[in-house]
Symmetry: C2
Subunit: 226 residues, 2 copies
């Protein structure tokens, strides 16, 4: 179909965690070269809503949450970013979410201006930036779809997604608290806890500890994932 791949067209998405050899003008490689790493303590703010968007960020290790606080204090977590993920890409000149380290994390920062300059010279970089924001849009849509589902469905979707991005294995370590999960899924911590307990009761998952989840029955989870 559309084969022209200059600006608008997303190529095969550069998978977040891959580290294979890349072309000379690769966005991920550029971030690697141009950026500096920085450590963030647990719960440390990486940027705040309303601040100028000066940098693009890449998770080297740890995990990051972006969120918005509603007028009445409720917090909506928009996304979790895991090692390899790029975040901080914003529509305009300033962030309209805040970002914090979920666990102690190391983050690579690259100046937005430097990347813009590079993208102006290198259409390939521009294309990859487009792919990136398009991916964000898609993730956002999936998130919105998830918010209309039932609690067990949201939990199942969340666990499958996290397992896929974190390890592809059946055992995963949750980097975030129940509170984080609740604010991501639009539930309360109690409902998250109860739903996990219920899934454990049905032998769909196991919970060796609060933060460790074993997927024992992906079929059942996928069925909930509807």
């Amino acid at each position: 179909m559309t084969t022209q791949r200059s600006v608008l067209v997303a190529g095969p998405a550069p998978k977040a965690c891959s580290h294979g050899p890349r072309s000379r003008h690769d966005l991920f490689a550029s971030v690697e070269l141009m950026g500096a790493t920085m450590p963030f303590a647990r719960n440390a703010e990486i940027y705040g809503e309303g601040e100028p968007a000066e940098y693009l960020y890449r998770v080297v290790s740890g995990a990051v949450r972006t969120y918005r606080i509603l007028a009445d204090g409720r917090r909506q977590i928009g996304a979790f970013y895991l090692p390899g993920d790029i975040f901080g890409l914003e529509a305009g000149d300033e962030h309209h979410s805040s970002a914090e380290a979920v666990t102690h994390s190391t983050i690579r920062l690259v100046r937005r201006n430097a990347l813009i300059a590079l993208a102006t010279r290198e259409p390939e970089i521009a294309r990859q930036l487009w792919t990136l924001i398009a991916g964000e849009l898609e993730r956002m849509q999936d998130h919105a779809v998830m918010l209309i589902k039932s609690a067990p469905e949201r939990i199942a979707t969340f666990l499958l997604e996290l397992a896929r991005r974190l390890s592809a294995a059946d055992s995963l370590e949750l980097p975030m608290t129940r509170h984080d999960i609740a604010d991501y899924l639009g539930l309360t911590i109690e409902t998250v806890s109860r739903t996990l307990a219920q899934l454990e009761g049905e032998a769909t998952i196991a919970l060796p500890s609060a933060r460790r989840v074993v997927l024992r029955n992906r079929g059942a989870l996928n069925r909930l994932n509807a």
Copy 2:
């Protein structure tokens, strides 16, 4: 702050409904020149999920909904597009939502390839495309935030948003059914109906007819909008 405005930076958003004079290389003007208009009957499909994204669309008159159908038949409406709005901008080569006319609508279509070609030559066009997708991302985030709120809050947010985009006046004609509203807000038609009735009872709105809403107390609505 960031003053370089080549690719990544959103300028002042081209407001949807304005029709003032535009620069020679303006996205909206280009759509006007390059596109052809087409009528769509009520509920007619404009494109379907999974189809190749061959066109970009601009609402000339009427209204459009984009939606996804979940495995169990639930429908999630992602957005309504009103006169002046551009839609159909997708991440990859194919649509991951479907689009239908809410009412009888006239739509201007422009070939995606033509626009891509133009964007390659004209950085200004590329910038406006970036602004456009960034705006979609922001709208999506607002939508997700709305989905965690209570029914009255969702309705208030919806009415204020629609009034703003449709007329800026206090009286508005809803182009869509209760079912559409429900699927957009993640509620049932009964809850939508009851919540509207409740707001009318509190003299926050008036409902001269099912499809006409008068905002009588924006203060109360804004308070709910939290």
